[in-house]
């Protein structure tokens, strides 16, 4: 669905209002949706869609995804969480994903930023250098 600028303009303050104490308040969001449902319109559905996208983006900002081919020790996970919380200056929730394609190393994702030090990426860099 294409989101108009007008819908985005409405959705942004709704998102701001939905946050209480740095956390999203589900009740508030449900309240907004109820109001929008009462007055069905094209712009209304655009606002809902836009709000959903904004909430997803906000959630991803507060999420740290650790991708690794092997399970990580709890100590390492804690250390990484603390380091990234300090770096990004916000509270993070950690999600660990196992990905054998990485062969070795670690890939860390937060929102649209990726920090990567894996065997797979090294091989890709090597391939790039040789092809060039």
């Amino acid at each position: 669905m294409k989101i108009s600028k007008k819908a985005l303009k409405i959705a942004k303050p709704l998102l701001k209002a939905a946050f209480i104490g740095g956390k999203i308040n589900e009740g508030k969001v449900r309240g907004f949706l109820k109001i929008l449902k009462k007055h069905p319109s094209k712009i209304g559905s655009e606002v809902v869609f836009s709000l959903q996208k904004l909430i997803e983006a906000e959630t991803l900002k507060k999420q740290l995804v650790l991708e690794t081919p092997f399970p990580l020790q709890a100590k390492t996970v804690d250390r990484l969480k603390n380091e990234f919380e300090a770096l990004l200056n916000r509270q993070l929730t950690v999600e660990i994903r196992e990905n054998k394609e990485l062969i070795g190393g670690l890939r860390i994702k937060n929102s649209d930023n990726v920090w990567e030090n894996t065997v797979e990426s090294t091989l890709q860099q090597l391939k790039g250098a040789l092809v060039r």
Partner: protein
């Protein structure tokens, strides 16, 4: 084999791999070579992005919630959900002497089947034009070899002179003659073909090869079969190649054939990127599209390199309409225009230059003094002839002075006619114009002038070689030189039948 292994080992050893920080996004939409991606919050304008299947793209739209990317290569391989990664690089093209004699695409890849290319440096395709302090005024002529241009609409090195006219009136022919004429001048030529038929580009390359001009020429080809992205990039790529030679202290000439099609390609891209459209559906920044390109033509001062980049953009008009959007834009950007008229072309006046509507705003300062001396009144004579010619059509009786003026005008027009691929050296041009403006061919039949001219120029190349050398050496036509010329003409006329 062991050598290869050693080389690979060396390559691997020199490779620095470290933890990388990347900014990624996902494709949400893809159509007609344009992708829209979400994420990529750190992408910059004009930044290269890496796409799956070894494809690359260029960020052209930065919006609140998404990024518009134009894709190089086969965009059909991409799909929704594919990952896009920023590279931190801007689009650049390989430049260097090795490009001479080659045909390359908008990204610098050879398309002439003459093998791979090793370039000296990478130059950014988009660059800010040199500022005022880095430039000096246009002061050296760029001889096109076309008598009508070199005499009345002179072009200087570092100038931007527009060639404008309807389709099929000889716009490309003028630029090809100009390239051919640079054979021994040291000027490197870059011919940028945008949205042309591939057969036409092949023909241009063939003509240049035949006349020995491909050696000092680089062709950047973005034919009509290429994507709008490649057509949009081609002029900037050609300009970057020219800038390399300019920075090396050389003189370069870049021909954009043509900017009308370039504007069309940009309009297509802009509409696909959903930018708001304005007049004739062009985006609001279509003026900047051409001004930032043509501003890069410059004559650098001696402290830098002293090199120059001359630009000859071409614009195709529809039914001679000079007041259309793109023509008026480019006319206002350039330092003058050469207007080619379809009626004149069809009447057999070739090159079909309408002197009244053509102008060179800065080239006069670069014109050779001897040329200025002989051709100073030519423009006025021709303009007077054109107005008298219109009156004479009514068939009323004309006085002797008017008849003389008409006769002279007709002879000037005849002398300015020039066959294709036969540029004339500047010394010969000086002699020729001196001949006509001083009435030395007033007694020659109009129908015989072309023959007279050809034989006279032949005689100058053989018997008058010394005279030509002296014209070339002397800044102005001295009394002695004029006397010598007078004697030479009298001698020649005796033998001319």
């Amino acid at each position: 084999m062991s050598n290869l292994v050693e080389e690979l080992k060396k390559e691997i050893a020199s490779l620095k791999t470290a933890a990388q920080k990347k900014n990624v996004g996902v494709i949400t939409e893809i159509s007609d070579g344009v992708a829209r991606a979400e994420g990529l919050s750190e992408a910059g304008y004009n930044e290269l992005v890496s796409l799956p299947h070894d494809l690359t793209g260029l960020v052209l739209n930065l919006e609140e919630d998404s990024v518009g990317i134009v894709v190089f290569g086969d965009y059909k391989l991409l799909k929704e959900g594919d990952e896009v990664t920023t590279t931190g690089k801007i689009l650049s093209i390989g430049v260097g002497e090795n490009l001479l004699g080659r045909v390359v695409d908008s990204l610098g890849k050879p398309v002439d089947g003459k093998g791979t290319l090793k370039t000296a440096k990478d130059y950014p395709i988009e660059k800010i034009a040199p500022g005022v302090v880095f430039r000096e005024p246009v002061n050296t002529p760029l001889q096109t070899g076309i008598v009508a241009i070199d005499t009345m609409i002179p072009i200087g090195r570092g100038q931007r002179e527009l060639i404008i006219g309807d389709r099929g009136v000889g716009k490309t022919a003028i630029t090809i003659d100009t390239i051919i004429n640079q054979k021994n001048s040291g000027v490197i030529c870059i011919y940028v073909a945008v949205g042309q038929k591939t057969s036409k580009i092949a023909l241009v390359a063939d003509i240049l090869e035949r006349y020995g001009a491909l050696k000092h020429t680089i062709i950047v080809a973005a034919p009509a079969s290429e994507s709008a992205t490649m057509q949009y990039l081609a002029p900037y790529a050609g300009c970057a190649i020219g800038e390399y030679f300019m920075d090396e202290g050389k003189d370069a000439l870049v021909i954009y054939d043509d900017l009308t099609k370039h504007a069309w390609a940009y309009r297509q891209l802009s509409l696909l990127l959903r930018r708001p459209s304005g007049r004739e559906a062009y985006p609001g920044d279509v003026f900047y599209l051409h001004s930032r390109l043509l501003e890069r033509a410059a004559k650098l001062n001696k402290d830098l390199s002293g090199g120059s980049l001359t630009a000859l953009p071409i614009i195709e008009t529809q039914a001679g309409d000079l007041s259309a959007y793109i023509p008026t834009n480019v006319i206002s950007i350039t330092d003058g225009q050469i207007y080619l008229e379809a009626d004149m072309f069809n009447a057999g006046t070739r090159p079909a230059i309408n002197v009244g509507l053509s102008v060179s705003r800065v080239g006069g300062a670069a014109q050779r003094p001897s040329m200025k001396q002989v051709a100073g009144s030519l423009r006025l004579d021709l303009a007077q002839f054109r107005s008298l010619e219109a009156f004479a059509q009514f068939g009323s009786d004309l006085d002797e002075a008017t008849k003389k003026q008409l006769d002279r005008g007709q002879r000037i027009v005849e002398v300015l006619k020039q066959p294709q691929y036969q540029p004339t050296e500047v010394e010969k041009q000086v002699a020729l114009i001196w001949l006509v403006t001083n009435g030395h061919i007033d007694d020659i039949e109009i129908t015989n002038i072309a023959n007279f001219q050809e034989k006279f120029l032949d005689a100058l190349s053989t018997r008058g070689k010394k005279l030509l050398e002296e014209i070339g050496k002397e800044k102005t036509l001295t009394d002695k030189l004029t006397g010598d010329l007078e004697r030479f003409v009298q001698d020649f006329k005796k033998g001319f039948k």
